[in-house]
Structure formats: C-alpha cells, structure tokens
Symmetry: C2
DNA sequence: AGTAAAAGGTTAATCGATTAATTAAAAATT
DNA sequence: AATTTTTAATTAATCGATTAACCTTTTACT
C-alpha cells in the first residue's frame, strides 16, 4: 500500500498555488491582505481533506526550536517521579511542548548521556532532578546558556532556576510534633548520599531533636540506594535491638518508607504499638495500613506547574531573572 | 553570552574541507578510499574539540525517520505503566530510539490527539495500550501502514502486532486454586468497560466458578474508572452485606485492588479472616500488609522487550509478518 | 608512455516549512 | 489620466545533514 506523505507542497500543487501561501494560511498569518478569504478557505479545506500533519522536524529545523523539553528523573517507575511527569506533561501539552523523559537511575554518567542525547534532539530546555555529584555538569550547562530548571533537588551554591520545597522546615516541624506527642527517642533513616534535599531533611530532624535535648548521633542511620533492603534490615536491627531502643522512626523518602515499613513488619515489630513511624511522601500503600501513618505530602502538581513556568520563561527570554521557588510541603497526620 | 551553534559546516570551515567530507567521516562512511586516514582523524578531533552534537531534526528530516517512537499509556503515574515505560525506554535506548510518552487517561479523544501529535513529531512507530473503543482508530492507523504494536490490551479481531498475556488462563487457574483452598463463594470486581484484557480476566473467573458449580451473576461487580472509590464502597457492601455473603474477592487490576483493599479496611472487614482477596498485578503495598495477598504478576520487563522488538521489526520492514505474542503471567501465593 | 584504477575529495540536490523581499494587478485617490 | 495604495500572491534563501554523481590527482599496470 503506497501512501503519499502530505506536505505543504502537495497541498500547494493540488490547488495550483505556492507552498508559501499554504504555509501563511495554515499558520494564521494571512491577515491584512496577505491571502484572500476564498483562497484561505480552499487551503484549509484541502489540508483537512488530505489530513495534512505538519512535519515538526522541518519546522523545528527552520525555526531553531523543537517545542520539546527534556525531563530528567531518577526513575520513572517511582510514583513520585511518575506523578511529576504526568503533571508536567499535562501542563506542557497546554503550552504546546512535548516532553521527553530520561531516567538517570541516580547515576551521573547516565545523566551525562541523557543530556547529550536530549541536546541532539534539540530540546528547547530541561527540567532536571539532578543526580548526586552533578553540580559541575549543571554548571557547564548554565555556561552554554541552556535553559534549565532544577526540581525537587537543588544546589544552593548555584544560581540556577529551581523549584524546591521547604525540606528543612517541614521536617523540623514534623519531628517537633512527634516529640510533642511524647516520643522520647526518635530515629531518622535516609540515603547514604550527599544531596541537598535529603541533607536538609536530615538537618530538620537533627535540629528538632537537639532542641528537645534528645539528639543521639547513632539514631541517624544511612542506607544505600543499591542495597536498600539489606541495609534497611540492618539499620532497623541497630535501632531496635540495642539498649538504646528507639520509639519512633522518620523515613526520609518514599522508597525508604516502603523499605522501612517492610522491614519492620518482617521483624514483627508492631507499628504504632512498638514504634511510631513518619514518612516523607505519600504512597499508595500508606492509606491501606490498619494503622495511621503520618506523612509529609509534597505539592507535586504545583511543583510540576511552577517548574514548567520557570522553564518556559527562560526559553522565551534567556535573560529572564533567575528565580528559585520554594513551595510548602505539609504534614498529614 | 554568545554561543555559536556547532554544525557540520562550522567544522568543515575550520578545517577547510566540505561539509560532505565531515559528514562522511562522522558517520563512518569513509571506507575504501573516501577520505584519508589523516583527514579523518583531524575531523574527529575537531568535532570532539568543538563538542559537536548532530542536529537530529535535520538528520531526521533528510533521512525520513526520527529514530523515535511514541508510547501511549493510560496514565504514566500508574506503577504498571511507569514500569513498562522504564523498561521500554531502556531497551529503546540500546537500539538508538527515543521514547515519547503520552497519557490517554483512558479517553478515546485524548488518544486521538496524542496520535496526531506524535505523528507530527514524525515518530517512526507507536507502542499503544489502546483505550476503550479505539478499535477503529487503530484500524485507520493500520490502513496507512503506520508501524505499531499493541501491548497489555489487544483487539482479537484485528490483525495487529500485539504483546499480550494469558489473561484468561491465569485467572482461571488462580480462581481454581482459590476454590481448591475451600472458598465457596468467590466474587470478582472489575471495571465497567469493554476491553478485551479485562473481559478475558472476567471470563477466566466465571468459567472457573462455573466449573465448580459456584457461579452467581451477582458476584461479578463492576466499578467505574472515574468514580472508583464510591463505586467500590458500594460494591463491597453489596458483596458482603447481603444474605449471600462472599468469602473471597478477586480484583481485576492493580488500581481496583488498591481501592478494594482500602474499602475493605474502611469497612473494618478483616482480610484473611473475614475474607480472602486475590489481586491482579503487583503493587508496592502488597508486600507490606500484615496479611499475605496472593497476586498475579505480569512479566512487565519481558512485555517491554517484546513489544519493542516487534515494533522495530515493523519499522525496519513494513512487510514483516504480523505477530501476536502471548506471555505468561504467574500467580504468586 | 599511455591508459586504467584507486584515492581523496567536492558539488549540488534534497528533506519540509518559514518568511523577508518582491512582483503584479486591482482599487482608490488626486 | 496619473499616481498611490491595497490586495494577493510568488520567489528564493534558509535551517543542518545526507549522498549520488562528479572531478582531480596520484598510483599501478601493460
């Protein structure tokens, strides 16, 4: 089956006009006496009849922009990133942008590959949740004036558009509340990584327990991304089977929360009886437990919206002022 | 800051050769005496020095393909689709393809919009989880010879490349096993929709209970996608608060499972004490319950791999035989 | 020495869309 | 009637990469 590709030229030939005329009409640039009413109508009708779909590669090449953006996340199968992606796509569509998603798997080298790849596809800008150690990479992108926005994680030293949440404050407040409820020996479990957002969460926890004179360095445990399950089991044992038994655990991310609760259940530790837990991020599971788990809810849709706004602002005006936006997460108890 | 875009022409000018020569070298087409060893090396070095990144819009325009594919799912924030997307992207990257993801939100009109959009971006092919009622749309794509593969859901009447699982068999076997364990009044909850994959699951359930002489039409309940929570509560009440009280429920998808379990907990019905449940699809939550939930696990990574294989096969050879592949899901108890 | 073959390039057309610059005819104005 | 303005188009260059078809120069062979 031979199907001829419908281009501007085809439409033009069928109507006996030039491709330029067709282009003007189809782009709505036929104002003040450029093309006659009658011809406009014939062109529009013919385009519909032939089911003309503009070739955005050609358009992008000519115009110097692709009307697409890259979204770089750690792992699209993680609900947090999936939800972020969904909302970014929805807003992007309204603005006429396509989103191309790349997964770093938290690895710097993957992130570099993805960026090169997205650049070759001429994305107009990038929304990035940067991997650990990618500060220099981001800096180099800024140097070549690439429009980009960091989301979820930032680099405080870098002057780069970012959409972040109040990690420190919300953690501080939440832990304060936990302590106010009578818990005397709270612990914190986070990833063994040097990322600003998790560092801030840790700082929030530590300041809160220090202010209540409850700080014990051993109560802050770290687990690795790659060996989450094993590390978590060990951490849980350390926290619960020492003489210094903790009575509450704050989990720093959604994946850590899931692994943590799983480990607690495995060790037959009863949540809210033997121990209280508090999670960062909402998950499907959290509403399904026979116990209530207080958790910190991030405004994901708002984060998506803001980061797209900031990005488009920079795409359309490379000299726009660089802004960092801080949104509020809230404790749902 | 002015950053000159590095094109073939720039490299050529710097070296005093033609753009053609640069293109030949950079594409490895400098064999049998096309370009000298020395010049090849100089070109490669210069390209690296200038950090040349080929413009894939230009390349795509010239070559007639974009080396990108569209992935159309219902909702990328759903873990099943997120995981599928992750794996498809991983395999696609190896084959040199970009993946552009679109969300239909299960709506036909959204699906139409996304397809037009992806076509304008000149995707070379599509991997689709078709929305309800999209059979004609798929047919029209086949008519214009668009390479596509259906995944997760198929249209048995259509001769279209598909990657599906053994929905009927696995449900039949799983329900059989449930009955074998002594449950005498099992129920089934699915979406109120006419989709082959869920129909097959329902058929598996019904045949299994019929074969055990336990079939009761009222035990098959349907809920809507839009009002999942409300409908679920009502369904649960109907199944449990009638004289005909069921003793097991089979949930047809992951979202239904989550909503179902949530509803059971809300009504203070004790799972595995008052009632047994069985779920289609794995979810984060499933491992976290203090009770064991048997579930049906789909080979998502294999589905991703196969669908990409089938798609690339069709992209590269439009006359390749159309194949439907059936993979095996398994019951994890 | 004369011719053929190999080596090492270059030219120019092309993909499809955009748009500044131009042209030509018709209508309006003086 | 002559000039200006308006209307309604067209021409041609351009974006960046690819590649068939050429063109020189050098080397090989009889």
């Amino acid at each position: 089956m031979k199907v001829e590709k419908v281009s501007l030229k085809i439409i033009a030939k069928e109507l006996g006009v030039s491709a330029a005329t067709v282009s003007l009409v189809l782009n709505g640039k036929n104002k003040n006496g450029r093309v006659s009413e009658e011809m406009s109508k014939r062109i529009i009708d013919k385009a519909a009849e032939l089911n003309y779909i503009p070739n955005s590669l050609a358009k992008g090449l000519k115009m110097g922009h692709s009307k697409s953006i890259g979204l770089i996340v750690a792992d699209i199968s993680n609900v947090f990133f999936g939800t972020l992606a969904l909302h970014i796509q929805n807003y992007a569509e309204k603005e006429g942008y396509t989103v191309i998603i790349g997964n770093t798997n938290e690895k710097l080298e993957e992130m570099e590959k993805i960026i090169a790849f997205l650049n070759s596809r001429q994305v107009d800008g990038l929304i990035i949740t940067p991997a650990e150690g990618s500060e220099e990479l981001i800096e180099s992108l800024l140097k070549v004036n690439k429009p980009l926005v960091l989301v979820d994680r930032g680099f405080p030293k870098l002057n780069v558009p970012s959409v972040l949440i109040n990690n420190y404050e919300i953690c501080y407040r939440s832990v304060k509340q936990l302590i106010g409820q009578g818990y005397k020996n709270p612990a914190f479990i986070t990833y063994r990584q040097d990322q600003y957002h998790t560092n801030e969460r840790k700082r929030g926890f530590i300041e809160a327990v220090k202010d209540a004179d409850l700080y014990k360095p051993d109560n802050v445990q770290e687990v690795s991304y790659q060996m989450l399950e094993k590390d978590m089991d060990e951490a849980i044992i350390r926290l619960l089977h020492s003489k210094n038994r903790v009575d509450a655990i704050f989990f720093a991310t959604n994946t850590i929360s899931m692994a943590g609760i799983k480990s607690l259940l495995k060790h037959e530790i009863l949540i809210q009886k033997d121990i209280q837990v508090m999670c960062f991020d909402e998950t499907d599971a959290i509403n399904l437990f026979p116990f209530r788990v207080p958790f910190i809810k991030q405004p994901i849709e708002e984060m998506a919206k803001r980061s797209l706004e900031l990005l488009i602002e920079r795409i359309e005006n490379k000299n726009a002022k660089i802004r960092k936006q801080f949104l509020e997460a809230e404790l749902i108890a």
